[in-house]
């Protein structure tokens, strides 16, 4: 294990996180908030600590898959711990475990909070919460790769471990260029959303926060009622962008390259939009009687489905009071999640497609045992390794899901709460149903539950393996 290289990368990570903190610090300074000094102290600590770690560049820079996984999961832990410091110092969240929960929820773009009232928070703290979503959405190591020159070829392992989806590949030959492209598209989309929101008369501060939150598919709002109190126009813009950020970013690259036909042919995109619109229609008709008007029902249905499926977690309506069918549909799309290679969470549409195709193939071969079948996606044969990885992911997902649920059920909440709480954590969605519904928060749970939630959020964001590998003894053997 190349510990020196891991140390070096983590050093840079802390340095960059401190630089990111300048942003809320600036807001605090402009608004004359007390939190300015808390941010300043955090930045100082980060630059000092991180700086010490990066002074000496390691000689041997090679990293293998093992280092890639370990680096990514340790990085995210460090990222979250350091990101929690401003919450503690400003006194917004006095308890350590709560601050860590909030920070992890931010970086993993979950958007679940332990705060019952966010409107009393200072602006800089609110901005930091939204900004953590934005950093975590595309991945902080991808950002580092775009900015500093890391070791030659092996940093693909970092990207593989950090990016969402089972088969991560580069857009262009150079890692650095790929990272730059990804962030370029990410920033462009975020800015477009910001501008549109401002044009639709959202206050600038709100627009910036909402755009960050949407871009990372996070879900931290700056209002206690999330997006409910904004105008229908704004709600619709947010709906559209939640859907857009749930799309695989390579689709946008294809659009830039003018390969429209490839976009049109993309199985995953078609499946994602298909499921999304089917869910929206189903819910619209199911809740029409509650809202009376078809278009109001459609707006709420579209917003909620987009929010849950893209794993954002904003809300414009308390869907906890909707009919059982609608709630079930919402939980289903929560599990399915967004596209691979997007900023969203969940199992990912790509994996679901592969799983269904595998199921079909197995059923066919069990009836007709001599037939030879290969699984194809987008007209090309899917590598057996990818299929296996998807299957194993599913197993790991279920095991982690039920173990976590069993542990938190010791608090004796009802089954729906337990189930949707864990689903909202692993899928990085944020709100669930009943006691963790859109109007509720996670503050009521005890420390053990919160710890399990923190672990699940990290595992969910990094797609299980990097985190589970940390608990595998052979990783640490010399």
């Amino acid at each position: 294990m190349n510990y020196k290289m891991i140390r070096y990368i983590i050093g840079w990570l802390i340095v960059f996180e401190s630089v990111f903190m300048l942003f809320p610090a600036l807001v605090a300074l402009v608004c004359g908030e007390n939190s300015f000094f808390s941010f300043l102290i955090s930045i100082g600590l980060g630059l000092l600590g991180g700086g010490l770690l990066v002074v000496k560049k390691p000689k041997r820079t090679t990293m293998y898959a093992r280092e890639g996984f370990v680096t990514v999961s340790v990085s995210w832990l460090v990222l979250s711990v350091f990101g929690a410091i401003p919450f503690l110092l400003t006194g917004s969240i006095p308890s350590v475990i709560d601050a860590l929960f909030e920070s992890v929820s931010g970086f993993t773009t979950t958007g679940a909070t332990i705060l019952s009232d966010v409107e009393c928070l200072e602006k800089s703290v609110l901005l930091w919460r939204s900004f953590t979503h934005w950093i975590g959405g595309m991945g902080v190591l991808v950002f580092i790769m775009a900015v500093i020159p890391l070791s030659g070829g092996s940093n693909i392992h970092l990207m593989r471990a950090e990016s969402t989806g089972p088969s991560v590949s580069k857009l262009v030959p150079k890692m650095k260029q790929t990272a730059l492209l990804l962030y370029g598209m990410y920033i462009t989309l975020t800015v477009i959303e910001m501008v549109l929101l401002i044009l639709w008369k959202m206050p600038v501060f709100d627009a910036v926060n909402t755009a960050f939150s949407t871009a990372g598919t996070g879900g931290f709002g700056i209002k206690n009622d999330s997006i409910t109190s904004y105008s229908p126009g704004i709600q619709n813009i947010v709906t559209i962008f939640m859907i857009l950020f749930g799309v695989n970013f390579s689709v946008y690259y294809m659009i830039i390259c003018k390969k429209f036909w490839d976009v049109f042919k993309s199985t995953e995109l078609k499946a994602y939009l298909g499921i999304l619109f089917a869910a929206i229609l189903a819910i619209t008709f199911n809740i029409k009687d509650m809202y009376g008007e078809f278009f109001v029902a459609l707006r709420h249905a579209a917003f909620q489905v987009a929010s849950i499926m893209s794993s954002t977690g904003f809300s414009t309506a308390d869907y906890n009071v909707w009919h059982g069918f609608s709630k079930t549909v919402l939980v289903t799309v929560m599990m399915i999640g967004a596209c691979a290679g997007s900023t969203g969470g969940g199992i990912k549409v790509f994996r679901i497609t592969v799983l269904l195709k595998t199921l079909k193939k197995e059923l066919e071969t069990s009836v007709h045992s001599r037939s030879v079948k290969k699984i194809k996606i987008d007209g090309r044969i899917l590598n057996h390794e990818v299929v296996r990885a998807v299957n194993v992911f599913m197993v790991a997902y279920i095991v982690l899901f039920f173990c976590s649920m069993l542990i938190i059920s010791m608090e004796n909440y009802d089954f729906t709460t337990n189930f949707t709480a864990i689903a909202a954590m692993i899928n990085n969605t944020g709100p669930g149903l009943e006691a963790v519904g859109p109007t509720q928060n996670f503050g009521k749970f005890n420390i053990l539950t919160k710890c399990v939630c923190i672990l699940d959020m990290l595992a969910g964001r990094l797609e299980l393996f990097p985190v589970l590998i940390l608990f595998t003894p052979s990783t640490w053997k010399k």
């Binding site: 293998y64 030659g152 940093n155 590949s169 580069k170 030959p173 150079k174 890692m175 590598n383």
Partner: protein, 452 residues
Amino acid sequence: MEIMIAGLGKVGQALTEQLTKEGNDITVVDLRGKIVDEMVGTNDVMGIVGNCASMATLKEAGIEAADLFIAVTGSDELNLLCCLLAKKAGNCQTIARVRNPEYSDEIRYIKEELGLAMVINPERTAAREIARILSFPSAIKVDRFAKGRIELLKFKIPVGSDLDEMRIMEISQRLHCDVLICAVERGDEVFIPRGDFILKEKDVVSIIAEPVNASIFFKKINVVTNQVKDTMIVGGGSIAYYLAKELIKMGIKVKLIDRNMERCETLCTELPKAEVVCGDASDEGMLMEEGIHRASSFVALTNLDEENILLSMMARKGKNAKVITKINRIGFHDVINELDLDTIIYPKNITAEYIIRFVRGMKNSMGSNVETLYRIIENKAEALEFIIRKHSEVVGVSLEKLKIKENIQVACIYRNGKVIIPRGSDEIKLGDSVIIVTTRTGLNSIDDIVRK
């Protein structure tokens, strides 16, 4: 530069590694998904799995944007076909590997008709390299600069030589000849020596000199410089065939040993002047009978690297023959270097080196200025030739005043047909051809040698 490499065999991998290190954007294409994955995992490249002669694959790999397409798959025909397609689809230069001897006589025609920028035959190139060494057996490696007017020679200081314990600055005084020691390999360390550097026996030394001066120098330090009289080649593959052909042309007697009767018969018809022996080279008695002890040089070219190493060690035993070992596959560079094997030939690296030279030449027209490139020591030191075409900050300043970076040496200046081994007071002028020796890789322009 955007480069596409089709085929990830030994050469393809060596090329990918080296060309990425030099900062090119590489896309590799191969049918074997596993190898592509491995390559993408270890190098900063993009990998595409597919048939490189299919338009869909080429398009997916982005052939439209590529500047150079290199086809090094196992099949000649496939290489030619995909070069043809690549050229039609994109606007790129193409390099194909064509190894079948049947095509080798028509290669010029193929190259012109298909519009290829370069056709490389690894076996033939390797054979030429071996022939060059046999023409100068004391050297481990011979390279030529400035169209042959300057030679770069690598040799090992023999035990008990005058050079042992000699300072570099004493050489010109004591031996009265104009040579420049540009790199010294000691164990696994490489030095670009300064004047006060002390040579030791068994050091592997690279010198730059005019051919005349080089032979004077070797005479003075009592090293034989005549080409070998005869050669025993074990293994009758394509390299052996090309080598025998080349050596016979040079007037060197060739004895070829191969264990396959059919192959021996073909070789015998193709090379009437060579003595072809059918026998198992692992049979010590047979080798003795064929006179392994009397031969003045021995070349091991069987398909098994391990066998080549063993044969060479045996040929090295006790006698002062020139021994050349071909190693195709295995790595273990450090271990092999310790074996005291004399010259080792790595065909894949020779091919890669030729292509890289071409790539650098191409970059030349796109901004970089490297005329030729020679690797002195595998991945550790290289010699580059620059032609000074325009004015820059290194021109017109005496070398001792230039702040040249560490581990870089201006080894030679070639001006108006004259070779200058530069001293501190010399300066670089417009129109010069300058040879730089360095342990840093990736120099792209003469301006890179000075500290900024």
